[in-house]
Symmetry: C2
Subunit: 354 residues, 2 copies
């Protein structure tokens, strides 16, 4: 059975503003200084799916820039453009029918486009276990991340402890408070929900049919339109009507045959600027300097310059980002709120900065 890589890359580019923009969202940024995140994701996936079997689902606005930047890794018709953002359930369902109808059933290895993974070999080993399980069973398989600290920013998966690599999922739990997160960490039977899924395309469609019949009916109508002359027009008409729900809520939490493969490969979703230290070495005072940057009497301060000199003096726990048309300075513990700046610029009609 073929293994497909499916990369969900619809991110809107607000969390790493001012470096990320609508047209250059985080997955197209080279935050590590090595390559853009989506290329690192493609190359990682190629350990379990041939390049010619890897697909990207993104939005129409990003498609042409993305095609440019993946630099030959992915051909144009493997970059699937959603006519509208309808959350992960629609995205995955659409990819499933596209694959089945045009390329034949197979195992989908679905991942976000913009996470960091330190140990690519370990990651590939975990994926191989999951692919084998998907081949041999009709289960929904998710990759869990062994927690390394009591994170309050991720959802958790509780599983039945066993000596098997593939474990039965007992329940999904929402982002916990600190105390609860500490309990999960101590318990040892919890992993972070990475948003990486492995299953047969036909199996997930069956799940849609059973658990999300409305979404399924739209997927059926889109499926009927595929390979027809007015395919594009029909998809543009139907897709925006699909109910918007995440695959976690819509499918995973409602299913009783989910398994998880816990992995420990140095995963980080690099969700905001305060995670920049995952990608770059800190000096002895916890400072990171990228580009033409100077830190004097600073602690735990990240300075990202894309051109001009940025000098920081006597500040602690600050992120400073310089781009050709905007400068951002934020408290590290407010890095999750960078979207507030984007919202304000939006409200002020500052399109040129978004």
């Amino acid at each position: 059975m073929k293994t497909y890589g499916v990369i969900m890359a619809g991110g809107g580019g607000t969390r790493f503003w001012p470096l990320s923009r609508k047209k250059i969202p985080k997955q197209l940024l080279n935050l590590s200084g090595k390559d853009i995140m989506i290329n690192e994701t493609i190359d990682r996936l190629s350990r379990v799916a041939d390049y010619e079997n890897i697909f990207i689902v993104t939005n129409a606005a990003q498609k042409s820039e993305m095609l440019n930047l993946v630099d030959g890794r992915i051909v144009e018709n493997h970059i699937i453009a959603e006519p509208a953002a309808r959350n992960t359930a629609a995205c995955i369902g659409y990819a499933a029918i596209e694959l089945i109808k045009k390329y034949g059933d197979g195992i989908m290895v679905i991942t976000p486009s913009d996470a960091y993974i330190k140990d690519v070999n370990k990651f590939a080993d975990i994926l191989k276990i999951a692919v084998k399980e998907a081949e041999n069973t009709n289960k929904l398989i998710t990759i869990g991340i062994k927690p390394t600290f009591p994170a309050t920013g991720y959802g958790y998966i509780k599983y039945a402890k066993s000596s098997d690599a593939v474990k039965t999922v007992l329940k999904f739990v929402e982002k916990p408070d600190r105390e609860t997160a500490e309990k999960y960490l101590a318990d040892g039977g919890f992993v972070w929900n990475s948003g990486i899924f492995v299953w047969k395309a036909s199996v997930i469609l069956e799940k849609f049919k059973k658990l999300q019949p409305e979404i399924y009916s739209y997927l059926q109508r889109i499926s009927d339109a595929l390979n027809k002359p007015d395919e594009q027009r029909l998809i543009e008409e139907l897709y925006p009507l699909i109910p918007s729900i995440s695959v976690d809520y819509g499918i995973m939490e409602k299913s009783d045959d989910i398994v998880v493969v816990p992995g420990d490969f140095g995963w980080n979703d690099i969700g905001s600027w305060d995670m920049f230290n995952v990608l770059h070495a800190e000096d002895s005072c916890g400072n990171i300097r990228t580009g033409d940057a100077l830190t004097i009497d600073c602690k735990n301060t990240t300075v990202y310059s894309s051109g001009k000199l940025v000098a920081a003096l006597g500040v602690d726990n600050i992120v400073i980002v310089e781009t050709p048309d905007a400068i951002m300075v934020c408290a590290k513990d407010k890095a999750q709120d960078v979207k507030k700046i984007v919202d304000e610029l939006n409200a002020n009609g500052r399109e040129e900065l978004l």
Copy 2:
């Protein structure tokens, strides 16, 4: 008797980096948004000295830019260029001999070029008292600033309490610690040393003769050279040899006939970026935004943009300055250390940023 204005404008431009540079030091900056500081200084002085009797002492590097920027207020030969920086005693002595030899004895009203004064009318009234005293006596007159808080960054002058506007100086005291400053404030018999002096040119030269004979001998030799064909060459030869000492140490503290006119006219030396609030209104959270600036969830934060958008998020007590070639972010209570950045850039050979 004529009244001369003498503006000491040799500042090197490090304290307001990156806005101030060697060629555009603080006195040539428009920090208030109204006019450059030296022009505000000239216009204030014009209340007691006609424009054609106002002189600037600066360094050779700044002279041509300064001539441009004073915009016709001062003619070229009234901008006296020191061949080297030799502190305020030499600067004032040089101005005194230049005035006497070329324009005749008169009262010198000597001020720094880069202080802020809120109430120009009150300032002029105080200066008029001092000028009258200088006319009627041979005393050295200094303008004292009634302290409004226990400042530790200024020198103080202790005077004999009396009901007269002109008071006898008892002693000069160095920058005090906080506790001492509080005592001075409570005592009521202390004023800040503003660096504003009023005296006859002939009187201060007599003081040099008596108290600083070595400096005086150089001044004499320079005086002999004035109006001669090789004036410029001789000054360039002699001036750098003058001992470097401040007029406070060299003359004021050694004299016993000093008087002070205490004034209360909203004086501030705007010594560093943390004083920017003297020039600009703060919002209800203590933030100041100049240019294309955005503050979200910030407190007591100053953002100065000279062009690009600068967005600050969730930071307190920070100064952010954007210029076309450099960005500076510093803790407000470290604003006095901005020179450290300049020193570092100097050490790194970054001439283009100095």
